[in-house]
């Protein structure tokens, strides 16, 4: 009963094709180790805004009551922990005009802004220009991020738990309040701005929906229109990119599909429509819509099939000058590039993939036409890597931005809300 255990971070990441989750397995081996190595403890303490750590404890819990129960336990210290004290890159947005790149960090819950030319081939951590972090920022389980160069603003969307988009001045830093806050449906993931219409669009995972808002929308302002329904082909959408020149909208879909019904603690009732629908697993896809689409609109093109190599497509970007779409293909550890007008079971023009690329569970991709580069934000490594725009195959990056020393493993957690104990292997299973 007194044995101690050592949990090794990042043993296995099981990526299942048809289910939108990661399952992390941690070896629960029997070797003895003192609880908390001090660097880990210090880093963990630093990884959460102080206000969150020191908030007063709910006084009602654990007090003696009528049956004189004195609860066992109390303020027990953990004997082991698995946590990543460093940021993990997720979404990415470029501002070539002002030579900056911004990335969302869902692990420490922050936004990091770097000089566009930052990074090199060294093993050292790259210093950001600034970081927005802390409870005032309302940044939580953050996903998509977007520069608005014209208005010198930066947008970030909280994906799970906290249903809001926060907008900051692009020189914001530290624990600052957003200048605007827009509430959005649960599980919004990507966002894309259309300067021509002064609107932005977001993808919403669980509703398999795209919603359009005024650029300056705030509070509980409703969307101007939505794309949603069985004919849309939308299925657990993630990356989204407006093609202003061709009046189209590109959406990346994981393929999980169901008709959702009310499920919050604030709504009673059950939807018979949802009950009779059943769920489906569709192949991953890119669906391209007319920019003015609404309701149950059919896409004008769909890229889908075994030749596409799509496997958990995350962020997407568009190169309007060279007519190309780039996709962060998370499940394939690659970046796949299609011709803009591709349709059906299309073979990618290029695939950046292989051990020399360093691409590991990519979440974001951004094309810099001005500087002829393509950026990749890696969730499976503490890096963002920069390649020549036309890179193809197993090529090394030109330079790397690191948010942790080279070789630092990532915990792989993304808002872990469950755990199971595998008694046969003495392992812990954690889904994301």
């Amino acid at each position: 009963m007194n044995r101690t255990r050592r949990l090794l971070a990042l043993v296995v990441v099981l990526i299942f094709f048809s289910a939108a989750f990661y399952l992390l397995s941690f070896d629960d081996s029997k070797s003895s180790q003192a609880p908390f190595s001090s660097p880990s403890e210090a880093l963990l303490a630093a990884s959460v805004p102080v206000q969150m750590c020191l908030a007063p404890y709910f006084e009602g819990a654990g007090k003696a009551a009528q049956d004189n129960i004195e609860p066992l336990g109390g303020e027990l210290p953990p004997i082991h922990l698995v946590a990543d004290p460093y940021p993990t890159f997720n979404g990415i947005s470029l501002d070539p005009a002002n030579n900056r790149v911004a990335m969302s960090d869902e692990n420490r819950k922050s936004v990091l802004v770097y000089d566009r030319a930052a990074g090199d081939k060294s093993a050292a951590v790259t210093s950001p220009l600034r970081q927005i972090i802390g409870p005032e920022s309302q940044i939580g389980y953050i996903a998509g991020i977007m520069f608005d160069s014209a208005h010198r603003e930066i947008y970030a969307v909280n994906n799970d738990l906290d249903d809001r988009i926060v907008v900051f001045d692009d020189d914001a830093r530290g624990d600052v309040k957003p200048k605007r806050r827009l509430y959005v449906p649960h599980q919004a993931w990507g966002l894309s701005l259309n300067p021509a219409t002064d609107q932005f669009a977001i993808s919403v995972q669980q509703l398999s929906m795209v919603a359009f808002y005024r650029r300056e929308a705030s509070g509980l302002e409703a969307p101007l229109r939505i794309i949603e329904g069985p004919d849309t082909g939308l299925a657990d959408p993630h990356g989204i990119r407006w093609d202003v020149q061709h009046h189209e909208l590109i959406v990346a879909n994981h393929g999980n599909s169901s008709v959702i019904a009310s499920y919050s603690a604030y709504d009673a009732g059950v939807s018979s429509k949802a009950l009779s629908a059943g769920g489906h697993f569709l192949p991953p896809s890119l669906t391209i819509f007319e920019a003015s689409a609404k309701g149950n609109a059919k896409p004008v093109r769909t890229i889908q099939g075994s030749h596409t190599h799509l496997n958990w497509p995350m962020g997407v970007d568009l190169d309007e000058q060279h007519d190309e779409i780039a996709v962060a293909d998370n499940g394939d550890n690659s970046i796949v590039i299609f011709h803009r007008s591709d349709s059906g079971d299309a073979v990618p023009l290029r695939i950046i993939r292989g051990p020399r690329t360093g691409i590991a569970s990519p979440m974001g991709v951004a094309i810099d036409v001005k500087n002829d580069e393509i950026w990749v934000a890696n969730y499976g490594d503490h890096t963002a890597a920069v390649y020549a725009r036309t890179a193809n195959g197993d090529v090394a990056p030109k330079r790397i931005i690191r948010n942790a020393p080279q070789g630092t493993p990532t915990g792989g957690f993304g808002n872990p809300y469950a755990v199971a104990y595998d008694s046969k292997r003495d392992q812990l299973l954690v889904p994301n």
Partner: protein, 282 residues
């Protein structure tokens, strides 16, 4: 994904897929992009948004909590395809609404559900049913109220040997601004909802007996700044080692606590009873 279960008897991992309205079963040693060995999915399953689940290894059943159908669905462990559930616990008498945790006790024949409700007259807490209950049945016990400290429950873990259930009381505030596609009409346009990442009321892991009922405090608790827990969401146990495993979304991490008394006879007794037994032993 908000739940999963390991079936030691059959060496399988069972997971719900909320956005695909499915339950998948994998080999226990599954690795990489390995397909499931069984899939439950389709209109006959009654699955809409399966949130979490438990496996009853003794009775060969999978118990699924669905937050959208507001029900507990019990499937044969080896069910596959568009299979209907064997039993459904749902309806107004059950008190169930936003069911986010479920656990099964095959020794005492109970199913425990963690459910939250913010609708008028609703109850947030732990709902205890007989294992074979079905239909619109009242729970045999409800652990809820201010003394429990449960504001917002999440995953459950159950120790059948002692008849205790542990709950990760995440306790963050989460008032959804939208009712599916549109903003909620009950909220003013200038509403200022609390961020669940900064609510000032950290959660805890609490333990109750499955025979507890009403507004009773936990028999065991892991809480406070020293525990490093902020908003614990996941909980699992290894009774043999006396360990409690907890995940925390704010920390984005996994914690192990050593709490052997949680799994001892002492955990089932009140303080007075323990004192009496100690005096008798002396």
């Amino acid at each position: 994904m908000h739940g999963l279960a390991y079936d030691a008897t059959h060496d399988e991992v069972v997971v719900p897929v909320a956005l695909g309205a499915a339950v998948l079963t994998f080999r226990g040693g599954a690795h990489g992009e390995e397909p499931p060995i069984r899939t439950i999915q389709g209109p006959n399953t009654h699955l809409i948004r399966p949130h979490t689940l438990a496996v009853d290894e003794k009775n060969d059943e999978i118990i699924v909590a669905d937050t959208s159908s507001r029900s507990i669905l019990v499937f044969a462990r080896d069910a596959e395809g568009d299979a209907p559930p064997k039993r459904i616990i749902a309806g107004p008498k059950t008190g169930l609404l936003f069911i986010v945790g479920v656990a099964v006790d095959p020794v005492h024949n109970r199913i425990v559900a963690a459910s939250a409700s913010s609708v008028r007259g609703g109850t947030t807490g732990l709902f205890i049913f007989n294992r074979t209950d079905q239909g619109d049945v009242a729970p045999r016990g409800i652990i809820a109220g201010p003394r429990t400290g449960i504001v917002r429950p999440w995953q459950l873990a159950l120790d059948p040997a002692q008849g205790n259930v542990l709950v990760a009381a995440i306790n963050n505030e989460n008032h959804p601004p939208y009712a599916l596609e549109m903003p909620r009409k009950d909220l003013p346009p200038d509403t200022d909802l609390p961020s669940p990442w900064n609510t000032g009321a950290p959660g805890f892991v609490g333990m109750w007996s499955i025979d507890d009922n009403g507004d009773v405090p936990p028999r065991g608790i892991i809480k406070g700044a020293g525990s490093y827990l902020v908003h614990p969401a996941g909980v699992a146990i290894d009774p043999q080692a006396g360990e409690v495993f907890v995940t925390d979304g704010v920390r984005n991490g996994l914690f192990t606590f050593l709490a052997p008394k949680f799994f001892s006879k002492e955990s089932t007794l009140s303080k007075k009873t323990v004192e009496k037994e100690n005096q008798r032993d002396r």
